[in-house]
Structure formats: C-alpha cells, structure tokens
C-alpha cells in the first residue's frame, strides 16, 4: 500500500540510532510529567510516598504496557490481513474480549482477575480467528470494506453482550468497564498486565517472519514460511494483549490503528526497525491522551477511551481522505 515500502533495506541493520534515543528520552520525559500530574500532591501530603507507590507507578507502568501492546497488536493484525485499516477495535476483537469478560462475570461473579482475563483472552482469540476465517473465505473488492465488515461483526457481538448484560443487570457496569480508563489501575489490580510484556517480546522475536507474512500467503509460503502456524501465533498474541488490556484497562479504541500508520507513514514498512518506534509512539499517544483526560475537567477525570475515540476518529478520517486522494 505504501509507496515507500522498501526504501532502504539497510535500515533494518541499525536498530538503535540517535533518533531512537531522542525519541525514548522524549517519551520518558512525557511519562515523568504523567507521574507528577494529579490532584493528590505526592510531595506535600503526608502519605505522598505511599500514594506514589500504590497508584502513580502502577498507572505509569500500565500506560507503558498497554500502549505498547495495543499498538503492536494493531501492527500484527495489519500485517496478517494486509490491510491498513484493521485493528482490534475495528475487527470486533475488543467486543469479543468484553463478551468473554461478561460470560465469566455471569457464571463466576467472584472469580479472580486471572480467571476473567483467561475468559477475555479465549474469546478474543475466537473472535480474531472468526474474522480471519471470514477474510479468507470472502473475497473483497475494496480494502475499505474490511473495517466496515469488522465493525459490523463487532456490532453483532456487542448486541449479544448488551442482551446478556441487560438480562443480568450488568448494563451500566458493562459501559463503565468497557470505557478504557487508567483510573482504577493500582497495586493489586494491574499485575496481570505484565503478561503483555511477553507479547511485546514475542512480536520482536517474530518480526521478520511477520514482515514476510505481510507480503501475502503465497509469497510467504514460497519463501518457506509456515504461514498457518504464524497466523495462529499472531492471532494468539493479538488475543492475549487485547484480552488482558480489556480486563485491566478497558477498550482503547483506534490506538492500534493510529500508531502503526503514523510510523509507517514516516519510516516506511520495515517491521524490525519500526518496532521500537511503534512501541514508543504507542506509549506516547496513550500517555498524551491520558494526560488530556486527567486534566481537561480536573479535578474529575475522563476515561482515556473518550479522548482516544475522538482523536482516533479524526486521524482515521484523515487517513481515509488521504487514501482517497492518492488514487489506489
């Protein structure tokens, strides 16, 4: 899709350069701002240090992990489907995770966060597989129709969730749970999020193979890649990060869509050298949106998903219009 697909194959050699260092420094500075932002002053109050350890640090870790993981899963999904408009929230994967969560809540209301997470991950895996199966079975005439169908799939799943929630009086809970927010992230609540670190590492490990998979099944098979297995692994990675992030934080709409597209717009499509940038940009976007969400109606706090939803929608529309201008 991008014209700058393979601009310079030597970029893949240089994983770490000055720019990346500068970018990292900028993101670290941003995270610093995030740590020290809040109504509760951690310096003047008596138990400031405790608050700092119990909420600010977990919150920042959550920002880092979920930002990087969702940006990565967007990227993996785009490679596997060869479509730039795809990510967990435009393919219904997030909705599947929510349904899984709801099912666990219904059958075992007092289950631990780990059980909830397993439910969400299993359902997101099934959902992502259904979407891929659908893409393989259905021939599509336009790349734009893929997200349309994905969003409709999501609508079906969320109508099931709504029905379920309505019958069990969980409807408002569902809304609260679904709206992604870092407000409730604190010690004892967020630790499962560390799991997605594994996803990030795995994506780095599979980077080259995923790049090849991004060229299509035939080419990938021709160069000796076990495409089916990679598809399974990729789906599992997406499902784990979507499921875990949905359970701990909620849905982060459009994040996986904006970040990989911005990075590939600037840097081209070499996955291995882009990966650190995708991580960094993901963290940066989540952190900035979280800062906006926390300060705009201070002392109250908006869910970050509202800010992401609005910003993401604008970026998404800009992308569509851009694609419309350069005739495909």
């Amino acid at each position: 899709m991008s014209k700058t697909a393979v601009r310079d194959d030597r970029t893949s050699r240089k994983l770490f350069d000055v720019k990346l260092l500068l970018g990292t420094a900028a993101v670290v500075a941003l995270l610093g701002v995030s740590i020290f932002t809040g109504e509760y002053s951690i310096f003047s109050a008596e138990d400031g240090a405790q608050m700092f350890a119990n909420t600010r640090i977990p919150r920042t870790v959550a920002l880092i992990l979920s930002g990087a993981a969702m940006a990565m899963s967007g990227l993996v999904m785009q490679l596997l489907t060869q479509n730039k408009f795809v990510e967990p929230s435009t393919t219904g994967t997030t909705e599947w995770a929510g349904l899984g969560l709801l099912v666990v809540l219904f059958f075992a209301p007092n289950s631990s966060i780990l059980v909830k997470m397993v439910g969400a991950v299993v359902f997101s895996f099934v959902g992502a597989m259904i979407f891929f199966a659908f893409l393989r079975k259905v021939s599509l005439r336009s790349s734009l129709i893929v997200p349309i169908v994905g969003i409709m799939l999501g609508a079906v799943v969320s109508s099931v969730s709504t029905f379920f929630a309505l019958q069990t009086n969980l409807l408002q809970n569902l809304g609260v749970w679904f709206a992604g927010s870092f407000t409730s992230v604190m010690v004892g609540q967020y630790e499962v999020l560390w799991l997605v670190l594994g996803v990030v590492v795995a994506v780095f490990f599979y980077a080259d193979r995923l790049t090849v998979a991004g060229l299509g099944e035939e080419i990938a098979t021709n160069v000796g890649l076990n495409y089916q297995r990679l598809l399974l692994i990729g789906t599992a990675l997406i499902a784990i990060s979507t499921g875990v992030v949905t359970v701990v934080v909620g849905s982060l709409p459009f994040l996986g869509l904006i970040v990989p597209n911005i990075v590939s717009m600037i840097r081209g499509d070499d996955l291995r050298s882009n990966l650190p940038w995708v991580c960094l940009t993901g963290i940066a976007v989540v952190t900035v949106c979280d800062l906006i969400a926390r300060t705009i109606i201070s002392p109250f706090e908006m869910p970050v998903s509202v800010v992401l939803g609005i910003v993401g929608a604008l970026v998404f529309i800009a992308m569509i219009v851009r694609q419309r201008k350069n005739v495909r």
Binding site: F85, L144, P147, I148, F178, A179, P253, M302, V306, A313
Partner: protein
C-alpha cells in the same frame, strides 16, 4: 389477476407492477414457477401479517368485541401497530435501496452513525437536563430537530465524499461509521456520570421499541416515510440499473452520481424517521433484505421492495405478538430481532463468500 390480492392499506405500492407486468414479455422472474412462488409467498406474508395485526389489536382485549370501549382500547394499540408499519416500511425500503446503491449486500444504512447520533442526543439531554428534561423533550419540536440533524449529517457526508473527483462509496461509509464511533465514546462518557435511575430511564429509550413512538409524531413521520418510499419505488428501474455497478450504469446512460445521491438522501430520510421514532434497530433492515432476496428470487426492485417491507412488518408484528402474549417479555423484542439478525448476518457472510 394478482392486483386485487394486495389490499391497498397494507401494500399500496404493490398494485402498479401487476398491471405493468401483464403486458411484458421478458419478466423479472426466471421461470413462471418463480413468479408463482413470489405470489404465494406474498399472500402468505399478507395473511400472517393480517393475523398478527388482528391479534395485536384484539387479543386479550377485555371488552366485548364491537363495543365502544373495545374500539378505544384497539385505538390505543393501533398506535403501536402504526409505529411497526412505519419502521417496517422505512427500514426495509431504505436497506434494499442502500444496498443497491452501495453495491453491497451485507451492509445496512443503520451503521452509518444515525443511531450514535440518536444515542448522543438522548444521552446529552438526560445528562444536562436530568430525567425530567428527557421526558419534557418528548415533543414534536424535538422530533423534528432530531430528524433535521440526522438528515443534515448524512447530507454533509454524501456531498463531501460522493461528489469529489475520486468519489468513493466505501470511504464515505467508513467515515460515517467512524464519526458514529466518536459520538459513541462521548455518549459512553456521559452515561457513566448518570445516576442508576437516570441510566435506567435512558436505557429504556435507547433500545428500539415501538412503545417509544408518540402518536403526536405521526403527522410528520407518516407523510415523510410514505413520500420517500413512493419515490424510491417509482425509481425501481433506476435502482435495477444502479445495482449493476457504476460503469455499467453509466454505459446504459444513467447518471450514476446524481441517482445515487438522490437515493441516499431518501434513504437517510427514512432511516432518520425510523430512528427518531422508535430508536435504533441495527439488523432489522439487514435481516429482511436478505430474506426478501432469498424469497423473491429476483433482482427486480419492483418486486423485492414490497416483499422486504411486508417481511419487515410481518417480523415486527409476529415478534411483538409472541413476546407480548406468549413469552411475556415485551421489553426485549428489538434485542431479540437484533440477535437473530446478527446471527443471520454472520452465517450469510460466511456462506456467501463474496461481497
């Protein structure tokens, strides 16, 4: 011969094709059997709808049939039945026309952001003015305001995205959906701040239900729906050509852009009326369009449109009758329809294998 089978009040538009059909050699149906099947199915649908309508109006009416009090009760029930008729007509006709114009059988106009707009308007009303405000806002002005807002939004979309040099239907759809998503997250945020009782009141309004319809709205809603339906129906032949795709349509001398725009405007009026009247119904239109194409066994819109409308009416009346008198779960009618429609949607796309 079949002209008198269609009773005027149930299906006023179905009279015309029968007379036209009589003098035509090459018909819309591949075989005489297909045409016979079409007529049989239409008659069966009519009888079923009439039965369900009668049931909705008269079943368990405590007063003896024919008495003055009986009619008073029937009249009140007739308001809900009218809403079903309006919704059936607008959803079915809009979906069939929309699918043809967008040249895609699996999408429905209701994903275009109308319901997000509806949700946003209602949530904002209860958020800023409380539940009293939401009840007070139940008047004709508000209804018209919603209609105008929805139609304006879609007009903006169409004119911006469909009239450029590289006009692209899919881009337009996606932009509509994404705007809807953005509005949706704003609504979610506001819903979060509501007290549980306010939220309950809002929920009742946000699920599509014919009980949301206020008879006060009918003088505005009915003419709009009937006129748009009539215009779409009269343009059936153009729709048949548009369905062949842009290039073919242009080759055949149809101004594709102008006709598409015209159709889309009518579709958005229909969808706006239906949504503002009873609330969102995402998959009803999809469900009936699929069924109509399946049963009608033709691509001619003069036959598909009436059948789709009749199926929609039948589905709604039968569903409400069953839920009211058999399962005693009237509140969830639309959700059940959504579920069935959603599942059918999944099955159809996976079985069909193309878009």
């Amino acid at each position: 011969m079949s002209a008198n089978l269609f009773t005027p009040d149930a299906q006023p538009l179905a009279q015309k094709p029968a007379s036209v059909r009589a003098n035509r050699g090459a018909g819309a149906f591949s075989t005489p059997k297909a045409r016979r099947n079409y007529i049989i199915i239409m008659v069966a649908l009519l009888m079923l709808s009439a039965l369900a309508t009668l049931g909705l109006l008269a079943y368990k009416n405590p007063m003896p049939f024919g008495s003055e009090r009986f009619w008073l009760i029937a009249e009140r029930r007739a308001s809900a039945v009218t809403a079903m008729g309006v919704v059936a007509l607008s959803q079915a006709v809009a979906t069939v026309a929309f699918q043809t114009v967008t040249n895609n059988r699996i999408i429905t106009p209701s994903i275009m952001g109308f319901q997000s707009l509806y949700t946003a308007i209602h949530t904002a009303t209860i958020y800023f003015f409380g539940s009293a405000g939401l009840i007070a806002a139940r008047n004709t002005e508000m209804f018209v305001f919603q209609l105008v807002l929805m139609v304006l939004l879609s007009l903006l979309l169409y004119s911006w995205l469909l009239t450029g040099k590289n006009a692209n239907m899919h881009a337009m759809l996606l932009v509509g959906i994404v705007i809807g998503g953005g509005l949706g997250s704003v609504s979610t945020f506001m819903q979060r701040m509501l007290t549980p009782s306010e939220f309950d009141i809002l929920t009742a309004r946000l699920f599509g239900s014919v009980n949301n319809a206020d008879p006060e709205y009918y003088p505005i809603a009915l003419p709009l729906v009937l006129a748009s339906t009539l215009l779409i129906y009269l343009n059936s032949r153009n729709l048949n050509v548009l369905g062949l795709g842009k290039d073919v349509a242009q080759n055949l001398g149809v101004n594709h852009r102008r006709h598409s725009l015209f159709m889309l405007v009518l579709v958005s009026i229909l969808m706006a009326v239906s949504t503002a009247l009873v609330g969102p119904m995402t998959f009803l239109g999809f469900l009936v369009a699929i069924l109509a194409y399946q049963f009608a066994d033709t691509f001619d819109h003069r036959y598909v449109i009436p059948m789709a409308a009749l199926i929609a009416y039948m589905v709604l009346t039968v569903a409400y009758f069953l839920m009211q008198h058999v399962f005693y779960a009237q509140g969830v009618v639309s959700i059940v329809i959504e579920l069935v429609g959603g599942i059918v949607f999944l099955i159809v796309i996976l079985k069909k294998g193309r878009l």
